[in-house]
Subunit: 352 residues, 4 copies
Amino acid sequence: MAGNSFGNLFKLTTFGESHGIAIGGIIDGCPPGIKLDLHAIQAEMDRRKPGQSAIVTQRKEPDEVKFLSGVFEGVTTGTPIGFVIENANQKSKDYSHIKDSYRPSHADYVYDKKYGFRDYRGGGRSSARETASRVVAGAIAKQMLNNIKINAFTSSVGDIFIDKPYQDLDFSNTESNAVRCPDSATAEKMIDRIKQIRKEGDTIGGTVTCVLQNVPIGLGEPVFDKLHAELGKAMLSINAVKGFEYGSGFCGAKMKGSDHNDQFNIDGTTKTNLSGGIQGGISNGMDIYFRVAFKPVATLIQKYETINKEGEIVEMQGKGRHDPCVVPRAVPIVEAMAALVLADYFLINKIY
Amino acid sequence: MAGNSFGNLFKLTTFGESHGIAIGGIIDGCPPGIKLDLHAIQAEMDRRKPGQSAIVTQRKEPDEVKFLSGVFEGVTTGTPIGFVIENANQKSKDYSHIKDSYRPSHADYVYDKKYGFRDYRGGGRSSARETASRVVAGAIAKQMLNNIKINAFTSSVGDIFIDKPYQDLDFSNTESNAVRCPDSATAEKMIDRIKQIRKEGDTIGGTVTCVLQNVPIGLGEPVFDKLHAELGKAMLSINAVKGFEYGSGFCGAKMKGSDHNDQFNIDGTTKTNLSGGIQGGISNGMDIYFRVAFKPVATLIQKYETINKEGEIVEMQGKGRHDPCVVPRAVPIVEAMAALVLADYFLINKIY
Amino acid sequence: MAGNSFGNLFKLTTFGESHGIAIGGIIDGCPPGIKLDLHAIQAEMDRRKPGQSAIVTQRKEPDEVKFLSGVFEGVTTGTPIGFVIENANQKSKDYSHIKDSYRPSHADYVYDKKYGFRDYRGGGRSSARETASRVVAGAIAKQMLNNIKINAFTSSVGDIFIDKPYQDLDFSNTESNAVRCPDSATAEKMIDRIKQIRKEGDTIGGTVTCVLQNVPIGLGEPVFDKLHAELGKAMLSINAVKGFEYGSGFCGAKMKGSDHNDQFNIDGTTKTNLSGGIQGGISNGMDIYFRVAFKPVATLIQKYETINKEGEIVEMQGKGRHDPCVVPRAVPIVEAMAALVLADYFLINKIY
Amino acid sequence: MAGNSFGNLFKLTTFGESHGIAIGGIIDGCPPGIKLDLHAIQAEMDRRKPGQSAIVTQRKEPDEVKFLSGVFEGVTTGTPIGFVIENANQKSKDYSHIKDSYRPSHADYVYDKKYGFRDYRGGGRSSARETASRVVAGAIAKQMLNNIKINAFTSSVGDIFIDKPYQDLDFSNTESNAVRCPDSATAEKMIDRIKQIRKEGDTIGGTVTCVLQNVPIGLGEPVFDKLHAELGKAMLSINAVKGFEYGSGFCGAKMKGSDHNDQFNIDGTTKTNLSGGIQGGISNGMDIYFRVAFKPVATLIQKYETINKEGEIVEMQGKGRHDPCVVPRAVPIVEAMAALVLADYFLINKIY
């Protein structure tokens, strides 16, 4: 089934393989009259793009978005916004060695089994390059939601984590370091850890936490399209994600009701917000916060054994320019997907 | 937006409030020719229903499903299956005290804010009673997927958890105890814990783990409708769920790539399956396993303060017959939602 | 694919076979706070139901709607509205003779081929009895759209037609005669024609015209979900419909542009409205009018030859109580489907 | 709502304004393994493109499709097919005179009212230029459906029409004349009529008939997504369409049941096929045929009065290069939309 669209009223459809001519997408349902800040869109792209710092892949891709429709004299027209991003740095030859072999913990094997064959160059459609299109759409959604604050940040790398509640963090620090951790001391440790891992030719996982503030009350459509269910799906659709929790999350599963229940203040806010800003699948006006788990990047710069199409064991050597830790570049992707979810529910909410 | 449907090709739409005349639903897209085992459907209902054991709510509801269409001479016809479950035990008067007040960590407040008012009797639409309809549909989906094994079980209650990998468990034990934990020693501890909690008038959270076996290769529709993304959404749409992880999950976020990568066997299976049976959003034929976090039930049998519509502080006294821990009854709901996701993708997969 | 839902934001899903226990549906997305006029709903049901006059089938079915959810103290709650209509008058034995045979110009043959078998009693799912559920939902949609006037009427029976523009008709006359034609002289001729046809054991086709007034400007979502495209689909989904045209329709295809173009008045209305109230797929605030063609009912009270499952020629004898002309009872169904389309776009339009 | 997608399993989403940088689309759900015949795709584009003959607009646009993804080494990969068509011949200055004025029977007025403003150049999104993207997708769908024959042709221009049943026509003649009428004598008259109309600076309407052969039994999803309902929506979504009928159509509404019923042959086919190859919304294996009404093009090369944004009467002079009759270029668009509908249902049908 056609699984490349996200959203209902604010709908993104993406296309493109990592080493094809271009990737891109169509945003259908963006309201008319939004004066697009193209610099802000490009700034989001730059947060995601490779080569931006010493701890991410050194591939160079300009990742410039070209809008083909839906914008007239700088303003959205209400018609679909088509856009493309050229794949400037294809280097397809880098990937010829994986044409007939399956890299461990990559999607090579299942794509071959599902579709009969695949565009093997750099992961093709399964490459995280596709997320660049999500960032474009998310950046536009953010402009539609300009009163809502969306702040994601790296909350852990391996076993290094921020040991403070998010309320004690200054999100304006997030972009001040390469790992996108708003706590400077922790950021430093994370960066050191990533550098060390890269030296080993290895990779490491981590988590991104995201906080949504000033979300209006009433977003979410029970019983199936609950706000957190859609946020969860959005996050789980990002490459390398293994888990999602919101509010008290997995910790909440260890708690007693008498400790977990959020007591109301007289204005309808609560004292503790272990609920994470969502009750019964509907936003309650308080901060929404959630955490997303990313596995370590599967491409190691090491020699290893794997199998080929014929089921023979072959030796492979990871090479090329890869991220030792995906989390710093995942931060803007998490924000983009959160913005897409909110934009969709924001439009839906006008019905009530 | 109309958020009460789940699935695309095998689509469930549900209706009903906890204290209305009846709940029910429509299953649209169920293939023709399935000889329905009505006893098996009722058996699933009985696993979910209240009053089934000493550690769940003592409300009595027969939860008998009545099929109105889509089944002819015991066989599905390919037309929509309409069904109802009467609300036998309404006792609406129990809830008059919450008409104008908002119970902490319930959906009362947000429903009032979103819709302007609400059916306040027992949570109305936000009650977990709605999940009975999911269990009906899931039971039918299971019959369509009869080669696929779906086994959920209680993996933790509070801080008591099974400390074995699922491979060491005998799922045939799951139904042998009231808490639905296949490890007998742990089950006993869990049951004791729940009984103690109930005595305190308190509640406790827990987790459900689910294992899907014999899933064919190729289910899942990247890039947005990845198999685990849809499973995640399905689970997060269940009442009281706060988190979802699959495969290595949040633990994977702490690992190095060299430890996390799943080495292939020559038959395409892998040695470790930290991926959890899904690569790039597509099933790879190995066991799919995931874990779902449930918060403690919000209704305590205690006296507490909260607010009413006017923003005044009022005193409430939890009463009635409530679950001290939702997890044992959630096990069949998790299985039902997993079955719905698989049924949908199973049909989609016929395209390829 | 699950084809039993209509609409996106105001979504109806129906279930039920003509001779099962009950038919019914779920309306998902109906806004909260609508005080339902149950008498008005039943009145619409009575317009559609059999046995209402001398020129329709003499089957008796009370067609009482029972609402199961989504309505609390007489007001819609914003949650899904589940409803059932019992099949009071099943008489399944009437249909045993068609169990293995295919009636000409009925859906018997294709249902058997598509689904492998069918509920053969009275057409099962393919019976127009299903439209009773549409009338329920349409009646609720009408209450949501109370400023919009929806008037359908019988515009032709066989070759007898109203030879006036709709502007010259008084819609308050529509219900004053059994054929639902607002022009009394034509109505009389139509009724005579139908009576004569019934005497012959034959049936006859006809057309329904529908006029939508006070529709706000801006409904319709180009380029695929144009307002008239959705209206067309809605009408073509009604049993026995063979054609749809709006505005100038098929006549417009014979005209010259200089005759067809609608000149503007200075207030944005047009002098001629050959466009039929829709430009580029979007309502322009003027009257929307369209015409729907119904074929003659396929069940004749005559002896005829047909084939059975084995491809043998068998003799059949049409019997039972059938409509000689479907058009009078189709009038409320056309209105209901128009109301559903408008309700959906009405909610969508709030986005802008 | 996002109305720029068509189809469920074979889904086309289009973008683009007539005078923007480019138009294009994404085909999501195209099965893998189809060896694309790019010449055949371009040939379809050439049938639709302007400037192809003496009786269509003399605008020149090469309409070359550029595929950006979803095709690898000439074969579809199962991933979304992104494509663009550059707007080579923009000449935006031609349209400055309509910036603040509303052309009669165009979408200018409603776009302004719905979206607040519009890209006024050449109709922007409401221009039939968008249909070029449909032709691309339809051409690919045709390749997927290679056993199904899809033949559309011009069946009338003004009051000149083919007075033979389609069975007596040789579809291989359709492309032999500029008006795409397979009956040579009628074609000549049509061409003369169009030339004369163009001399007058006027335009004229017409109809396209389409015949679908070798369609497998069982396509169509009652009760709402009936095959003819979806075909109707598809056709009504094409610019300038005012009506749709299939099988006996509006003529059927004048007939008696005894004349209209299709008697079966012993192989399940019927003697008369007034049903038009569809019963109860499901294909029965016989020829599907339908007719589509196109209004005359609204742009006249004449002087006329209209209104501007301020509600003042202004004089306009139609100029530029416009079609005197849209029907010859509409033939491939009708085929493309029919192919899209069939492709979608063809995939769905694999479920059964």
